[in-house]
């Protein structure tokens, strides 16, 4: 068992809360931002999705990843199916190793999640290159790095409502 995880019984997670986190991620995705910032902002929907796949594998699986990906596709006005493809594949990889991933410490988990986010970007980039877009430079792989840094914070934040003693 991980050492920096709370050794306490947590309240059961409500389906409503999972939906709410995805909704908030979508809202953040829709915020209008100055032009350059999309190059380094982490993919928040992807991060939340990986969190739930790792921590609630029986609720959030490949199918959910696919549907969330479709919504992300519409929100970002990209190609239909690119997020869906990337999310469902990485959700599958995370599910395969889920039992290992939950035992990791937050740092190790962040690295694994970073790899998955990197795979996300790679799949989306390949999809775009194959459909005729130009290569847009290696800055496209910056968001996963920011995502790694955000992972511990996100984990603590999403765990907060399920602590028994929130004093």
């Amino acid at each position: 068992m991980a050492l920096d995880r709370p050794h306490e019984l947590l309240k059961p997670v409500k389906r409503r809360f999972i939906a709410l986190t995805f909704f908030l991620g979508l809202l953040v995705e829709l915020i209008p931002l100055p032009a350059g910032s999309t190059r380094w902002l982490p993919d928040l929907i992807g991060l939340v999705l990986l969190y739930w796949v790792i921590n609630q594998p029986r609720r959030v699986g490949v199918g959910t990843a696919f549907f969330v990906g479709l919504i992300a596709d519409v929100a970002t006005a990209g190609l239909f199916g690119q997020h869906a493809l990337a999310y469902s594949l990485t959700a599958y990889f995370a599910l395969k190793r889920q039992r290992q991933l939950v035992m990791f410490t937050l740092g190790q988990q962040a690295l694994a999640v970073g790899g998955l986010l990197f795979a996300n970007q790679l799949i989306m980039m390949l999809a775009r290159l194959l459909t005729g877009s130009a290569f847009i430079g290696f800055s496209y792989f910056l968001p996963p790095v920011i995502g790694i840094l955000l992972w511990p914070l996100l984990t603590k934040l999403l765990l907060l409502p399920y602590r028994q003693h929130t004093a």
Partner: protein, 299 residues
Amino acid sequence: MDFANSPSFFRHGPRPGARAALCAFLSLALLIGDSRFGLMERTREGLSVVLYPLQWAVNLPVSAARHASDFFTTQTTLKLENDALRTRELAMASQLARLRTLEREHAELRSLNALRDRMPGAGQMAEVLYTGRDPFSYKLIIDKGQDATVRAGQPVVDGDGLLGQVTRTQPLTAEVTLITDKSLMVPVMIERTGVRAILYGYGGGVDLRFLPAHADVNTGDILVTSGIDGVYPAGLRVARVVHVERNTGSAFARLTVLPLAGVQKSRFVLVMQTRSDMPARPAASAPAAEAAGRGHRRK
């Protein structure tokens, strides 16, 4: 007891591998359908209407902050801006008077020669809602859509020059593809000499390819639309040549070109009305005869 590892005694539905394969297959089908056949246009339109209130709600604080900062501009900035605008108006007024006489003259000459009038109509102001999130394409979303009779194909300009073209309309918004996008090409000519060329967007910038090495181009030349495509009216300023490199080894001059319009900066844009005065499509039965006839008339 951990948060996640609740025992799974029962399995429901297909295994994750099968599910992943199915989802990957579905998304690949969607990808191909969207990129090759444009099957998703309708779906996207519908979903964008559903997302519009969300977008509006998220936009609300941002636009409120913008309006608030507009409200609290200082007296001096307003005064300065007012002065600048007034001097500019004076300069414009004299030019406009000249332009009117020239325009009348132009129209007379055109009518003498039985040529069609190609002057553009008035435009529609629109505000930029946000720039697209997709880093692969250079697009803007504006707040006029099908409700304001914006159609795909209309050119979009700002105060400095050509910005791009409306490529997709939704009920309440429209998507403008910028000239820096890879899929947009603009027929241009050099204002000083009238040499025609095509300006290619390459994703983040514009490029003037295939201009002969001996072509008469200088640094600082302005490129304007040539108007020979029927999409952009002639004479819109598009870009400026900032560097010319003539290499003896290559048949073409290498030009560095910068767009004039605030491609990622402008907040208000003008959607121009284009009068489609293209001749009607010839009937499919006798295309050759029609083409020959038209060629004859032009002589």
